[in-house]
């Protein structure tokens, strides 16, 4: 049943990696500042990191599975595989892997001599326990659970060989396994139960959770026995830093002031104006690491009027002008996207011509669609109903610059006669509006490694809400042709055939005016210049401080 050719490309890749990429500093996407190593790394010192993301409620990224968890879990947990700057999957806790010809059986050969920081050996049994933990409803996993949806079971072939048996072929399996939400934890750690494991999960990573003072900080200390860096790391052995103090500083101005004052060494989520200001001097380094998966985009709800009419969708896309707004509000830190996928995805397909602003064309299309009259305020009316677009905006997910951009969308759409009603909501209220389908346009991020995110966001299966009301296909795109392409792509392991299928799917999605792409999902870090060797890992663009050291 199982032919066992190690994919030769993978092998060669690893060879090249081992020789060539060791010295490379890999940053996701287009990096703005190349951290230059000045002098030799020195050991010691504690790095202070100030996070603007929400404080996790549980440090185990198997539970739930959101970005704040991924940010910190990357410091103490590791995955079976990683992804390098060019987008290739590279070995991490798994040395190599082979897949059967029917794509249903994956054998992972694990790294030898790796131990969890509680002394438990890392082996095939640990991998099995982790997958079972993710798939156990009691774990309350959402992200990792979805990512491993096609894994039926893991079999222990021997100590260092774990066999994943799938229900259907999954070309995204490696990408799914590269994410922090499916990272491998100590079985003994998991066995302590959720409450204890949430406080301090146990992994194989370069740091160990020492203490979590709620709403203040998490102390991480160095794992002196560390032995499992990913294939693209710069050195072997323990990290240079003695520890990391991971602080939660929700206010962005305070965060930047603390970086300026030297109280912290690294901040995340800097606002665009802050990045622009920091870039003017040379006191700080900027790591621009867009998140993978979907781009930030405005989805047009094609499931109900008025956007069930493609002409009206195109009219909206042609009417609004976002380029000037992006330029002015993001100070050149964000590049306009014309794709449904993040620019870090090698298979992202762009078509700028579909999104050129053309007010005359917009007006023409709306006239054709029967929205011929205008009321006293200049909004179009049909059968006594105004052409109104409800736009719930999450204040948790949209930064102030993005909220201002949406106001510009509102203003420019008015020229064509659209009334855009922006509602600023907190996260619960925002999801509430989506569940109730009380939206015509909406912007929702979706982070996932690889183009398979298209299946989650645009396959008609994702229109059916989960029992909790959650559904990811917010444009409510329902096209059997798209479904077929995305399903086939997910099961196609041949890289060229897979790329071709994803391109076809993206052409249909973009060409149907279901979305207005804005820019990559922004994800930036500002570092004091004394921090050397830090990078963002090219999976979900979380920072890695394994190679980092403090100069002077």
């Amino acid at each position: 049943m199982r032919a066992a050719p190690v994919t030769t490309r993978q092998n060669r890749r690893f060879g090249i990696l081992a020789i060539g990429l060791v010295s490379m500093i890999a940053l996701a996407g287009c990096q703005a500042a190349e951290p230059e190593a000045s002098g030799d790394p020195v050991s010691g010192g504690t790095l202070t990191y100030a996070s603007g993301d929400a404080e996790p409620t549980c440090l185990d990224p198997h539970v739930g599975g959101n970005y704040p968890q991924a940010l910190i879990a990357g410091q103490f947990l590791e995955s079976l595989v990683s992804r390098d700057a060019s987008g290739e999957i590279i070995p991490w806790l798994a040395d190599s892997w082979e897949v059967s010809s029917d794509g249903l059986v994956w054998d992972f050969t694990l790294r030898d001599d790796v131990t969890f920081t509680d002394g438990t050996p890392f082996d095939a049994e640990a991998v099995k326990v982790n997958v079972e933990h993710l798939q156990d409803p009691a774990t309350q996993s959402s992200t990792g659970y979805l990512a491993l949806g096609k894994v039926e079971q893991v079999e222990v072939v021997d100590d260092l060989e774990a066999r994943f048996v799938l229900s259907t072929p999954d070309s995204a399996l490696l990408e799914s396994l590269s994410q922090p939400w499916t990272a491998i934890q100590s079985p003994a750690g998991i066995a302590r139960g959720m409450e204890e494991n949430c406080q301090a999960p146990v992994g194989t990573g370069p740091f160990i959770v020492d203490e979590w003072v709620k709403q203040d900080h998490i102390s991480l200390v160095r794992n002196d026995d560390y032995s499992s860096p990913p294939a693209d790391a710069e050195h072997d052995g323990p990290a240079y830093l003695e520890g990391i103090e991971w602080r939660f500083v929700p206010d962005s101005a305070s965060r930047y002031a603390a970086l300026q004052g030297g109280q912290v060494d690294v901040i995340d989520n800097p606002q665009p104006d802050t990045i622009a200001a920091a870039e003017q001097g040379d006191a700080f380094k900027w790591i621009d690491a867009p998140r993978p998966g979907a781009s930030n985009r405005i989805e047009l709800n094609s499931g109900q009027a008025p956007f069930d009419d493609e002409r009206v969708r195109e009219a909206f896309v042609r009417a609004v002008d976002v380029n000037d707004g992006i330029e002015a509000l993001f100070f050149g830190t964000a590049e306009r996207s014309y794709s449904a996928l993040s620019s870090v995805e090698a298979l992202a397909y762009s078509d700028e011509s579909l999104f050129e602003t053309d007010l005359d064309r917009a007006n023409e299309l709306l006239d054709e669609a029967g929205w011929t009259e205008r009321d006293a305020e200049g909004y179009r009316v049909r059968d006594g109903a105004r052409l109104t677009l409800r736009f719930p905006v999450s204040t948790n997910q949209s930064i102030p610059a993005e909220q201002s951009l949406f106001e510009q969308v509102q203003a420019t759409a008015k020229d064509a006669g659209f009334e855009v009603v922006i509602e600023l909501l907190d996260l619960s209220g925002w999801y509430g509006a989506l569940f109730a389908h009380e939206y015509e346009i909406v912007s929702a991020p979706y982070t996932k490694v690889g183009p398979d995110v298209l299946r989650i966001v645009y396959h008609s299966d994702s229109i059916t809400p989960a029992p909790s009301g959650y559904f990811a296909n917010l444009s409510q795109l329902n096209d059997p042709a798209v479904d077929a392409l995305l399903t086939e792509a997910a099961a196609t392991s041949d890289p060229d055939a897979r790329a071709e299928l994803y391109e076809q799917a993206q052409q249909i999605i973009l060409g149907g005016y279901y979305l207005l792409p804005l820019y990559d999902q922004q994800n930036s870090f500002l570092l004091s210049t004394k921090v050397q060797g830090a990078r963002a890992i090219s999976t979900v663009s979380t920072p890695s401080f394994y190679d980092a050291w403090l100069a002077g």
Binding site: A50, G64, M194, Q215, A253, A258
Partner: protein, 327 residues
């Protein structure tokens, strides 16, 4: 000792004091009950499913089984009135419940955060008092210019929003001069900016009411007689009029502490300090009902205690109030 006084004035006074205390306690219990009830029903009016909050927050992709399980475990499938009575029953036994999001007892969570917030609020109250007394003593009765300047400062200070003041203080003292850290560091230096941010607007309020009573007091005959005895202006102020100026300040302090605790939500967030304010903000966002209820109850309790305390200290500072109780 005097004619017409009751046979046992002391006992009667004690009786009145006990009755007064009884009323205070009953009032406090009523307030706590009302707060618990209002919070319970208000939080259910805002959109968001508590079962989802338990299963990883808004947007969680929980399965139907998990949702059902959680609804059963937490009694969310019961009628609202049953849930309400269950909550009251729990509260009566002193059980604040378990946080939905953090899965730890609410009492432990709040216990860990209360100290920091109380310290912040009390230090701010003390600083506000010092600033307000200083300003009103300096600017009252020293001519029109001093009065105008004093009133101007008070009005401006009272109108300053916390978030703006915090940003300005950070810009000047952290980013600009580099004297003080913009985020709490667990040291005294880290407390300075948050305390100043909270104290300045409050000092504006307090000074306004103090000035009025001070002016009032300075026109009283006893001030004139003290001056006639040859006491200096400063002496008169410190020995005789401060008490009058302080009275409305004292009765306002109960209110002020409640006001400071709500200001702590903003200040703790901006200065990244652990505390009740941040806990409350996070809990509301996550629809963590037990924590929201717990924080609101705790703040109400502090508020009620402060009101009792100010009532008592007003009686100490102002003999007239004690006599009233005797009448």
């Amino acid at each position: 000792m005097t004619r017409g006084s009751p046979a046992d004035p002391r006992g009667q006074r004690r009786g009145r004091t006990i009755r007064h205390a009884g009323l205070l306690v009953a009032g406090a219990v009523f307030v706590m009950w009302a707060v618990a009830t209002l919070t319970f029903f208000a939080i259910r009016l805002i959109p968001g499913d508590p079962a989802q909050a338990i299963l990883g927050g808004p947007g969680s992709q929980a399965s139907q089984e998990a949702l059902d399980q959680v609804r059963r475990d937490y009694g969310l499938d019961q009628p609202l009135i049953v849930q309400y009575l269950a909550m009251l029953g729990r509260l009566l036994t002193g059980d604040l419940g378990t946080s939905y999001a953090l899965k730890v007892p609410v009492a432990d969570l709040l216990g860990a955060q209360l100290g920091g917030t109380l310290l912040l609020a009390l230090l701010s109250l003390v600083l506000a008092w010092i600033l307000a007394l200083g300003l009103s003593l300096w600017s009252t009765g020293r001519g029109r210019i001093a009065t105008a300047v004093g009133e101007g400062i008070e009005l401006t200070a009272a109108a300053l929003p916390h978030f703006w003041l915090a940003a300005v203080l950070i810009a000047i003292f952290s980013s600009g001069l580099g004297w003080l850290p913009p985020v709490a560091t667990g040291t005294a230096a880290g407390l300075v900016l948050p305390v100043v941010t909270l104290a300045v607007p409050l000092a504006g309020f307090l000074a306004q009411v103090m000035r009025e009573s001070l002016l009032d007091a300075m026109q009283q005959p006893f001030v004139v007689s003290a001056q006639a005895r040859g006491e200096s202006t400063t002496g008169v102020r410190l020995r005789h009029t401060v008490r009058h100026a302080a009275l409305p300040g004292i009765s306002l302090s109960g209110w002020a502490l409640g006001w400071l605790l709500s200001g702590a939500v903003v200040v703790e967030t901006i200065f990244a300090m652990p505390g009740l304010g941040r806990t409350l903000l996070q809990a509301v966002t996550l629809r963590d009902i037990p924590v929201v209820t717990g924080v609101v109850l705790l703040i109400s309790l502090v508020y009620v205690l402060m009101t009792v305390l100010t009532d008592v200290s007003s009686r100490i500072a102002d003999p007239r109030l004690r006599q009233e109780a005797n009448r």
